[in-house]
Symmetry: C2
Subunit: 356 residues, 2 copies
């Protein structure tokens, strides 16, 4: 999934260049490229589908040059994750009746890629032989209020044997407040909802038919268009009529065959400057400079991103974001980063589209 | 005088581009250009001499295209204002035995240019007919600790008539602390030392001979070189041997014919970010954005300078300098701006000459 437009990393991310296409850490690879690279050893590139907005097709082809154009599925409108996944599922169904599927966002950060592949492979083996909807739950390392939580319940048993990392799900919980998040983490029962799903083709098709017929029915009617010259026209027409709903809410919270696989591979959804800060290597005073040179004086806990080759000299700042990109410099307290959306709107109103 | 190299406005000013060559307020004219323009209605351009370092000759010719190359006198070394002025005086002497001279820095800001020209014209008329060394003292508007002060004494009387704006000088005082500066301003007796001097050619020659023979004697010996093809070679040899001393300390504080002319034309020596801030138009929250677009949130009393066409979005900052130029971004509390020199040194040590 690579359709996000997010303004949360503004001015670093923009509408024309959302975060999945950015190289946050100056490694030379964007988050999307890192995501694709991460799967290469276990998923042949020709089996990768990327669902996105048509305006990002060219940047994706540029960033992943060995991808064929037909592997990029373009949503004509933003309809959250359920229609997005249904589109990909329908596309896969046109080619095969048997497949094991991983659904992943293109803008997550994963530190331990070997462990990630071990977990994904284990999960794929599992869903191949079971009619289940499996989601990955990450062992929480802090009481993060920016993530959803999954409460695990009973361990999966098979042939009288417990499969140590797979559990039934007791509850899904939206982003909690700090107090509740602390309780969650202390309990040992809660995992972060990673938004990474594994299932086989028939299980997810059945789940859509059962819980989201409003989405599955149009795709069933258009089945014979998939992979043909008419696919684009048909999608243009039908997709915008679909309900906007997340797969978590629309399916996972409703289905009775949902399981969570506990995992721990240094995951972050990089949803906020704060999460970016917490993941980045820091100097002795807790300052992060992502790409550029930096000198800090009487300053603590800042995250700075300027273009490589620049120098930041920061004096007397604690806990700020300092981000510059494409002619916009943002200086904002990390604790107030939720106001960045409003700032983007204000800049739009005051200066027209000049700084979008 | 246009030889200053100052790092106080770093990163906005650099060694290769000190503040006199910068357009601080985005008006399209540098401080040097504004200084020359200010004199044009009362001083023919061919009577302007600019004393500077040879490395700035080209930028001066570029900025003042109607200046001839010979009007730029190049100091081969920095020797403070007394040798600088002696050089210009010697150059003028080679052309004429009668002249009235104004000495002015090229990096001051003057808001009321008509009043400035009225004062200068009055002063020039006065020094034409009197053997005096006249300095301009600015009516202080605040207890500024960054300036020297001149204590005025008795009004000049002539033919039994008091000349309202000219006084004898009781004391010259270096930069005072804040408490003393307050006493100075409250007393009504103290004026800011502007460093703008007026005198006739013979009076200043006599003063150099009397108080700075170490400077005047070499220039007397080289008199016949001035304005010839040998001038440069001779200056290269002699100038570095001269003592480094200010005209204030070397002459004005010693001579017995020193007078101060009280004036008020919106003067600032723009010596610090703080003085730049205090002179600039502010929004309702006391924020200054010199050239670029800006949005401020919960922010007060900041001065921001980015390149025109950029946008600064500043949240939760009070009393900071935010300055970006040539790949360096500085964020520093205004009250700590004296540490900028150290930061420049640190950047030099840590990153070589990359950000000088």
């Amino acid at each position: 999934m690579a359709g996000g437009v997010g303004s949360r990393f503004w001015p670093y991310s923009r509408n024309h260049r959302p975060k999945q296409f950015l190289d946050f850490f100056g490694t030379g690879r964007s988050l999307l490229q890192q995501t694709v690279d991460r799967f290469r050893p276990i998923v042949p590139i020709e089996n990768v589908l990327i669902v996105t907005n048509v305006m990002y097709r060219d940047v994706i082809l540029e960033q992943i040059p060995d991808l064929r154009r037909e592997q990029i599925l373009c949503e004509p409108a933003r309809r959250n994750t359920a229609p997005c996944i249904a589109y990909a599922v329908s596309h896969i169904s046109a080619r095969t009746s048997e497949a094991n599927i991983v659904v992943a966002a293109s803008d997550h950060l994963i530190m331990q890629e070997d462990e990630f592949r071990r977990v994904i492979s284990t999960g794929l083996d599992f869903v191949e032989n079971h009619d289940v909807l499996l989601t990955l739950g990450m062992k929480p390392t802090r009481p993060e209020t920016g993530y959803g939580y999954i409460q695990k319940e009973k361990q999966w048993t098979e042939d009288g044997r417990e499969l140590s990392s797979i559990y039934t799900v007791k509850t899904f919980t939206e982003k909690p407040d700090l107090e509740l998040a602390k309780v969650f983490v202390d309990s040992g029962e809660f995992l972060w909802n990673s938004g990474i799903f594994l299932w086989n083709l028939q299980s997810i098709r059945k789940a859509f038919r059962t819980y989201q017929p409003e989405i599955s029915e149009p795709f069933r009617r258009g089945e014979n268009m998939m992979g043909t010259a008419d696919e684009d026209t048909w999608i243009q027409e039908v997709f915008p009529t679909l309900p906007s709903i997340s797969v978590d809410y629309g399916i996972m919270e409703k289905a009775d065959n949902v399981y969570v696989m506990e995992a721990d591979f240094g995951w972050s959804d990089l949803g906020t400057w704060g999460s970016l800060y917490s993941l980045s290597p820091k100097d002795a005073e807790g300052n992060v400079s992502l790409k550029s040179d930096a000198l800090f004086y009487h300053s603590h806990g800042n995250v700075v991103t300027l273009e490589p080759g620049k120098l930041a000299v920061i004096q007397g700042l604690d806990g700020y974001i300092v981000a510059e990109a494409d002619g916009v410099l943002l200086i904002c307290k990390q604790q107030d980063e939720q106001s960045i959306r409003q700032m983007v709107t204000d800049a739009e109103v005051k200066f027209g589209g000049k700084y979008n």
